[in-house]
Symmetry: C2
Subunit: 601 residues, 2 copies
Amino acid sequence: MQHIGAKHVDITDGFWQKRQKINKDVTIKAVQDRFIETGRFDAFDFTNEKIPHIFYDSDAAKWIEGVSFTLHKERNQQLESFIDQLIDLIEKNRSEDGYFNSHFLRKPEERWKHRSDHELYCAGHLMEASVEYYKATGKDKFLKLMEDYADYIYKVFIVDTAAAFKTPGHEEIELALVKMYDTTGKKRYLELAKHFIDKRGVEDEPWITSNYNKYNTQDFLPVRQQKTAEGHAVRAGYLYSGMADIAKRYNDEELLNACKTIFSNIVNKRMYITGGTGSSHLGEAYTLDYDLPNTKGYAETCAAIALAFFSQRMLLLDKNSIYADTVERIIYNGMLSGVSLDGKAFFYENPLELQPVLNNRNVSTVLTERNPITQRKEVFSCSCCPPNVIRFIGAVNEYIYSYEKDTLFINQFISSTMEYESIKAEMETDFPYSGQITMKISGAEKIAFRKPYWCKNLKITLNGGICDYSIEKGYIYINLQKGQNNLIFELDMTVRLVHSNPRIYDNSHKTAVMRGPLVYCTEGIDNNFPLNDIVFCNNLNYSQVKSDKLYAYMLEVDIEIPGNIEELYTFTPFSYQKKRLRMIPYYCFANRGETEMRVWL
Amino acid sequence: MQHIGAKHVDITDGFWQKRQKINKDVTIKAVQDRFIETGRFDAFDFTNEKIPHIFYDSDAAKWIEGVSFTLHKERNQQLESFIDQLIDLIEKNRSEDGYFNSHFLRKPEERWKHRSDHELYCAGHLMEASVEYYKATGKDKFLKLMEDYADYIYKVFIVDTAAAFKTPGHEEIELALVKMYDTTGKKRYLELAKHFIDKRGVEDEPWITSNYNKYNTQDFLPVRQQKTAEGHAVRAGYLYSGMADIAKRYNDEELLNACKTIFSNIVNKRMYITGGTGSSHLGEAYTLDYDLPNTKGYAETCAAIALAFFSQRMLLLDKNSIYADTVERIIYNGMLSGVSLDGKAFFYENPLELQPVLNNRNVSTVLTERNPITQRKEVFSCSCCPPNVIRFIGAVNEYIYSYEKDTLFINQFISSTMEYESIKAEMETDFPYSGQITMKISGAEKIAFRKPYWCKNLKITLNGGICDYSIEKGYIYINLQKGQNNLIFELDMTVRLVHSNPRIYDNSHKTAVMRGPLVYCTEGIDNNFPLNDIVFCNNLNYSQVKSDKLYAYMLEVDIEIPGNIEELYTFTPFSYQKKRLRMIPYYCFANRGETEMRVWL
């Protein structure tokens, strides 16, 4: 199945148009300002002697890539000129051999010596940025510089094997090299990506700190033998994406099977209901099956994004709705929570529960338990997530449609227009707040429309009448007529209670609430009673309430809570009282000051 | 009300006779051997130049005190000779001014300079040991040495104010000085104890590490103004015990009220169902109301013991069953869990849940989350708990009876004989496994028998017939006849479900099981199904099963568990299946290898 890139798709209205507008008008500028303040762009200027952090290049690159996605639709002289100056600095300061790394060019004797130090990771992000900047603007200077760089890396790692390590400590360059190949057609880049994947976990590799082992860097086995998602969740997600890319381009069945096994391990055993992964702050890592703590949950924004990358690539390989379902789970929940509604502030961690009082629990020492922060920040010392959110929201267009033979796949429900070869599509919807999706499609013989996992009933109208369809792997296949086809899909958006696998330790006896793809949470600020021991009534009685402040629909749900109890422990069963619980979409949490938040109730 | 000390009471049979036998025959020797190996006794020998740890004196002293309690009933030449040699070493090595501290005598220039370094704490434990050794053996050499030491401390802290601090960094000496006063009649020791209590929290005091604040050392306010239990839970418990001692001996109403307020804060907001306190390992401290995590629960054995000390002293002041109830909660649960059934190994922390798998949760790093250990150890580098358990079990005799005017109070139900002045009592019972208590009493006009909080119904027979009684503050007052009175109490020991205050975060929707004073837990080793999401049936259907291995009665209880679920999250409500859950008394946990354990289900 073919990917349909951002340049073929316009988001025209609705939920994501609003989010992209904030992304373009506010977030890009806000992150640019913070990165200027913190010297992330100055790193490219070698009249500045200060040694930049090892990952500054990747931060700048992701920001450039994010800007590039906005340029497809509307060029921006000011931003392009800013970026072009950075590109000029890369050209001016790179080595003769094509190497560019703002940190190691200032410590030249250390080049390719430190597997832990993100050298190939930064290179990969620069390559991704150069590809998207070229696609959006047609300017190829950056891309050419990166081709030289990739050629040089090929020489170092394949021809001369001159580095102190064989594979990246922080994966990312694998998927970037595939993009370089897709864009330039140069097979060598694909070979290099495959080389990094094939060599991983085969021989012992150096690693620096004493805190990490082979699991953290996915080095514990050759990748084709790996069966569980392990280690640093962002590295893992990028690696698995690269594996899927290579599996597709080389038709590598063994690699595809490894990807399927790992994907299944993630979604069936190691993923939060929000699509977050990597539950521990120690190593920012996947841990054990069913180990998904709520208040301590790490669930890094970048890890959610990396899993969306992997899921989308698996969709192209396997045409199963589980992959697009997972993308949907991420983009409406665990990715979107990473940025504030005003677009200016970010979460690195996205826990499923905030108990601000517990952050201060150790009143008797100056130490506190390590808990996630309770309010978003404008920048972090390790600020990978903000520009990753920019480029992801900028690229949401790419998740809507895909194409195979005569079939147009409708993967996400976002108001948009699309033109790809002879196919044209228009989609209009207030999804995720409404379940009605109206489409006009021409130039395709069939469509495959994802039936979301949360949707019990669905009604389809084709050109005003009912239509036949078949379902395969979660997709509804409908034969179209010649010319324009008018389709209406009505998805059942009933609010539903979600039960958690009892093996998830922290969710024992707890329930979550979803409406469509949105996971709801409840915040202390909306409810004047304690949020412990809430019991949902058997027949869920609820209503929707529009919140202008959150640009979202809240829910009000009938619940019961225990009456007030003075003792710590009692033999007397509780008496319950009825209350109305106000809930908001999870992605809206922590936008109105510090307050308690819970997903599982 | 008068305390009735160990020398007046013999434990003759039953539960505690068995535990005291293990304590005497096994634990004393085991701890002695470990302390010999680790140099805790060598510290007293100054031909050894190695500088002992700052708290080694207190470890040795608690062990001596523990041995002393066994000597009341049966002298032991070998142990006494071992102890007499240590006493000789104290005499030989102390300063001329009476000072003895094995650490600071080897660093004389540092004496009284470091408030954090347990100097007065060690002195207090030596004094307590000297008092009990004198009471048990009549030998007064140790006591005289400690009188000199106490006289000298009086001079340093009251006459010369020559120390770099005003009050102990680690409290303990307050209650020890009261024992010195009670034993010697020298008012100066009582004055010194009161001085330390009065001065606490009045002026700023030096403190060394950057990890602690004024809460950790109970310095945040003058003690009479303190309303919550704060900081290091062992220090706190010892301080509150000293406060209660002073309140009693000075008739200090204000101090008594502070004690009542703090006690109420503990039992209504900051205590585990097992009587454990100090829920955080950070600062080994009390934290916030209702912050009682299960898997991370610290609940140090010594903190449970310190709370028993405080409770027993409050009982003498206030004659309310809540205090003896709390002692009972501790001695059958959170204290007793501190030692293995074979008497050789110890828990420092007593969590309410063990998930061994979670101790290894961070497979991707070499770091793991900090969790309590899952198996008892024979000795710790900070090994305060093992000798504290020895002296506490050795002194259980002191918790059974107390006396006021003509009334004998029956506080704990333990097979024993007692002679105190003209009163004689005999008690026979298989408590806590049976609710029947048979007593013979003469020489008292009245008895006050504690009606335990867990007992719904109780039947009393006096000399073969029914009897009148009145209830006040949880005590059943019964007028006795002249001569011997035969009493039978039959306590209702029905197994009961305990509901947790919903504000206890970790216990949301969870239930515990108690039978009499025993909190039950369940262990993985006894049940071949997952222990998540267990539901108790409305009418508790259970049976008792004798376990020879545990010397205890297990319970088997009808429960339901959810059927097997493959997905992480499902919209389909669970179907439940019936199971029979095996439970054991909490104090028996972790005696059969590493396995999961849960109290709250």
